[in-house]
């Protein structure tokens, strides 16, 4: 019986199998990663304020929660504001990047990865094409938007809109 285990052919076969299955796992991961590379238009960044490093490049970071007076006074944080301030999402070393909760840098063009940390089910729906506006082809290439194209990240509730005119009641003239 003992001899059986030392047959070189069997050992080679064993290693080949291990190698093969690990390749399969790696292949799966890259496939999943490809799925994550969703084509989106460029993020809605303002030329006056981006790149952030234009001003913040050699500025000391002040992480204190305060009223913004000279700059960015138009930003109203209404997004879990009790627990968060600028540096919760913006990176203080690499000023033109965002970062995840675990410190991983995230480009503005992939900001959905940042949003998805808290809004997991929404991210999943967005990837499936259920959340958000979709244009393009139902049977082909679809155009996605970033979260920030519709939601102001500092105050993400969708704004109220003025409705288009009501239809004319029957019997009434235009």
């Amino acid at each position: 019986m003992n001899k059986f285990w030392f047959k070189p052919g069997l050992i080679v076969l064993f290693f080949v199998l291990i190698l093969f299955s690990s390749l399969l796992v790696i292949g799966q991961q890259t496939a999943d990663k490809d799925k994550m590379q969703i084509q989106v238009p460029p993020p809605p960044l303002n030329e006056d304020t981006f790149p952030c490093s234009m001003c913040h490049g050699d500025m000391e970071t002040n992480p204190e929660r305060r009223e913004l007076v000279d700059f960015h006074e138009n930003i109203v944080l209404k997004h879990d504001e009790e627990n968060r301030w600028c540096m919760a999402c913006h990176d203080d070393k690499n000023r033109d990047m965002l970062h995840s909760a675990s410190g991983e840098l995230i480009d503005f063009s992939e900001s959905y990865k940042l949003c998805g940390q808290c809004h997991g089910p929404k991210l999943k729906d967005w990837e499936a094409g259920i959340h958000g506006r979709r244009t393009g082809q139902w049977n082909g290439e679809k155009k996605y938007l970033l979260c920030a194209h519709c939601h102001n990240p500092h105050s993400p509730k969708f704004p109220h809109l003025k409705p288009e005119p009501a239809p004319i009641k029957p019997g009434k003239k235009k």
Binding site: D125, A128, G129, I130, H131, G132, R133, R134, T135, G136, Q137, W138, N139, G140, C150, F158, H160, L161, K162, P163, E164, P165, A166, P167, I168, K169, K174
Partner: protein, 304 residues
């Protein structure tokens, strides 16, 4: 016998004057026919499904010329058939719709609805959250400064493209039917305007052209489909076709692209990777007036 005597007297008409008179009357008839040839052809036109390819081509040529003249721009009237292995479904996210009516007017622009008398294929109903989906007290004519209005939600309604459509069954002449991709269509030229379908539809989705539809030339959308958004005439019924002229080219319906909150979803029910299938498999879905067994392919859902 007396009739023969008075109307026909061979003695008085020689061969030559007879021929002269005959030529004169036939050319008059031919002249009259020239002016109204198109009208006569249209009048004699059979229902769309029984027409040969050649006849359809002639009709399309006639319609394109007519519209080009009327609206001062080149029109295309497609007769594109269903894409094989497609069966369309539509889904609308009730937890997202804010009642802005952008879809209503995008539809009017895309589908050449009459501006006056006004005709809308999509009707957005405002309902009270307290009461839930309740058609009796729903308000079509809400007019707020801003939407969504406190305590209310919105249910846009258009053709539900039922799998078991009462309208199709009720049409006495077969002017409306379901194509193989699931779109319920109308042949406006075969419609006799009896409005049986309107009485049969439990969703109020069919609309009648009581007056001559008006469509300003500059607003006319020249990319049309015979069974869809080509300009309509007085006395026929019309309704949503899921933008047949767009979806058979692979595009989304106009309302899907217009909705600012992305509440509208469209796709192929036979494709298991489609957005519409994802919704049916993962979300809370409802159909309107389920008890009537109309089996709509228009699904309302809550994404949250």
């Amino acid at each position: 016998m007396s009739i023969q005597k008075t109307t026909f007297s061979p003695k008085k008409v020689d061969r030559r004057s007879f021929l002269k008179a005959a030529a004169a009357t036939s050319s008059a008839a031919a002249l009259a026919a020239c002016g109204d040839k198109a009208a006569i052809e249209e009048f004699l036109q059979r229902d769309f499904r029984s027409l040969s390819k050649e006849k359809i081509a002639k009709i399309i040529e006639r319609l394109e010329a007519e519209y080009a003249q009327k609206y001062g721009k080149a029109f295309t009237v497609s007769t594109k058939e269903p894409i094989p292995e497609t069966f369309f479904g539509y889904a609308l996210d009730l937890s997202r719709c804010i009642g802005c009516r952008k879809c209503v007017y995008a539809c009017v622009d895309e589908n050449n609805q009459s501006r006056d008398p006004q005709l809308h294929w999509i009707q957005v109903l405002e309902m009270e959250k307290e009461k839930g989906v309740d058609f009796i007290d729903a308000n079509l004519y809400y007019d707020h400064e801003e939407v969504p209005h406190e305590g209310h939600f919105y249910v846009p309604i258009a053709c539900q493209h039922c799998k078991n459509p009462p309208c199709v069954k009720s049409c006495p002449v077969g002017a409306t039917w379901t194509d193989s991709d699931g779109i319920v269509v109308i042949d406006y030229n075969w419609c006799i305007g009896c409005r049986c379908c309107m009485a049969a539809c439990p969703y109020g989705a069919r609309h009648f052209n009581w007056g001559r539809p008006t469509l300003p030339a500059e607003d006319a959308n020249p990319n049309t489909h015979y069974l869809g958004n080509r300009p309509r005439m007085k006395g026929v019924v019309e309704k949503c076709t899921w933008c047949i002229q767009r979806v058979r080219e692979g595009r989304y319906p106009a309302c899907v692209e217009a909705c600012p909150v992305g509440a509208r979803k469209f796709g192929n029910l036979l494709d298991k990777d489609s957005e519409i299938r994802y919704i049916l498999e993962n979300k809370r879905v409802l159909i309107l007036r389920e008890v009537l067994n109309t089996q709509p392919k228009f699904y309302y859902f809550y994404s949250t």
